[in-house]
């Protein structure tokens, strides 16, 4: 009590700055102690939750395996399977348990194929879990809807097609992405028909993801891409141009040629690149005739196309551009000229008085 009184006296007799420092120290000390206690509580709670999840997971794993091996050829659902279905139906009503059941099904569904994978999907229907996925569609929270669609994708529930299609033009891009992945993952190239309805932009990242999914499939026969190339949605056109290039859609040649007059420069440039890849000779004459009207990017793309599909008749056009002010165009013209008429190409070097230009010609000559 005496020392306690001494501390109070010491505090009261201290200068104000020392009093402030002591108060701050005490506040910090109290905060640190409370935070440490809170973290300890949080950690023990998380550990406890982990243990509960692990316990349920083990139980559901065992139920799932029993279900998979309890089937027989005489009955559609054996008595043992029915017991498991009934149990999972009850568990599905509880959100916490439902999450564990679904994750257990997914953990196995992603690793196996064949009859057992189909049986897991059957269990997903029989236990009523699918109705909860559909319930998520009614949520006001966008991430709940997105998670619902993802769950259906992972469990490959093709039956949800019409319900998922409702979200194809949803204002939230995360939901749209899940819809697109659902369609392409489950219906492959047929799933791309959502492009007919898409009014919102398809970002570059979305396009990459869709192409990544598509390349996993063995069948590479894609539907008619012409309507998508004519889409009023520019991102759909840009994505279809990628498809045309990757899957060599020469059949869409005429529509690709029409895109050379598209109002968007980016689309026109990409169209030239695709036509170059597909080696469409008709594109060369169209572009050559309106070369002066083209933007610089289009002109560069056109010269890249010329590098791919040149003819002897292109020589005068090339000669007219060997001194083009743009470096890329100049180099492309010289490269093609070197192949078409080497003597003429060499004479350019001899007749030029500009050392920089001679250096470029020499570089192309030796490479």
């Amino acid at each position: 009590m005496k020392s306690y009184q001494y501390l109070i006296d010491y505090f009261e007799n201290s200068p104000p700055i020392i009093q402030v420092v002591w108060v701050v120290c005490c506040v910090f000390l109290v905060s640190i102690v409370s935070l440490v206690l809170y973290l300890k509580f949080l950690r023990s709670k998380l550990r406890k939750d982990e243990k509960i999840v692990a316990k349920f997971q083990k139980e559901y794993e065992s139920d799932l395996i029993s279900y998979l091996y309890a089937g027989n050829e005489e009955e559609a659902i054996s008595a043992e399977q029915q017991i498991i279905i009934d149990k999972l139906k009850i568990c599905a009503a509880d959100e916490f348990k439902r999450r564990i059941v679904v994750s257990t099904l997914l953990r196995l569904r992603n690793e196996i194929s064949g009859e057992m994978a189909e049986a897991i999907q059957k269990l997903y229907f029989q236990s009523g879990l699918i109705t909860y996925a559909f319930k998520k569609f009614k949520s006001n929270k966008w991430y709940v809807v997105a998670k619902g669609i993802r769950e259906l994708t992972q469990l490959q529930v093709k039956e949800a097609h019409d319900k998922v299609m409702i979200f194809v033009n949803h204002p939230k891009k995360e939901i749209r992405k899940e819809v697109q992945l659902y369609l392409v993952t489950l219906f492959h190239f047929e799933g791309l028909k959502f492009l007919d309805l898409l009014e919102t932009p398809l970002s570059e990242w979305d396009q990459i993801q869709l192409l990544e999914v598509l390349q996993r499939f063995d069948e590479q026969e894609i539907p008619d891409i012409n309507p998508w190339l004519k889409s009023t949605n520019d991102s759909v056109v840009a994505f279809t141009l990628k498809l045309a290039k990757i899957y060599n859609q020469f059949e869409a040649k005429d529509t690709l040629l029409e895109l050379l007059a598209h109002p968007q420069k980016k689309i026109r440039v990409e169209a030239i690149q695709v036509l170059c890849h597909l080696q469409v000779f008709e594109a060369k004459d169209v572009l050559k005739n309106k070369f002066g009207e083209l933007s610089l990017e289009e002109q560069i793309a056109f010269f890249k196309l010329l590098e791919n599909i040149f003819e002897t008749g292109d020589e005068p056009f090339l000669l007219a551009h060997v001194n083009h002010e743009n470096f890329e165009i100049k180099v492309s013209a010289l490269k093609v000229l070197k192949i078409l008429n080497f003597e003429k190409f060499k004479s350019l070097k001899e007749n030029s008085a500009m050392p920089e230009y001679v250096k470029i010609v020499e570089f192309i000559e030796h490479n």
Binding site: E61, I65, L108, E111, I112, G114
Partner: protein
């Protein structure tokens, strides 16, 4: 059961391990399950199995290290089947270079796995 051929399964997905245990034990094999590469090596050294099934990506010690340990350190010719996920083609080639006998890409059919196991243990 004591005459049953022993198989060590190294797989970090407990649900898949349990499924394969049921399936292969039904065929008369004895399954020893490891949840990571470290445990797999311990089981292999302890039980000298007739076959090893291993996933490539595992915590602590990868499937590749397990193969290397069996072939180089233990100098055993025990048949090894590796499981790989999509996009792990390079890992599969490494596994073959290290001495794996067969591979199965995930997702795989457990029935097909049984056929491959039987073929290797014939």
């Amino acid at each position: 059961m004591s005459d049953a051929k022993k198989i060590v399964l190294a797989e970090d997905n407990s649900t898949l391990s349990l499924l394969l245990k049921f399936r292969l034990e039904k065929e008369g094999y004895k399954l020893l399950i490891a949840v990571d590469g470290k445990e797999a090596i311990e089981l292999i050294e302890q039980h000298d199995p007739e076959l090893i099934l291993t996933d490539i990506m595992m915590p602590f010690i990868s499937g590749l290290e397990v193969i290397s340990h069996v072939r180089n350190k233990l100098a055993k010719q025990t048949p090894i089947i590796v499981f790989s996920a999509a996009g792990q083609e390079e890992m599969v080639l490494k596994a073959f270079n290290l001495g794996a006998n067969d591979f199965m890409g995930k997702p795989f059919s457990p029935n097909e796995l049984v056929i491959r196991v039987k073929r290797l243990l014939r």
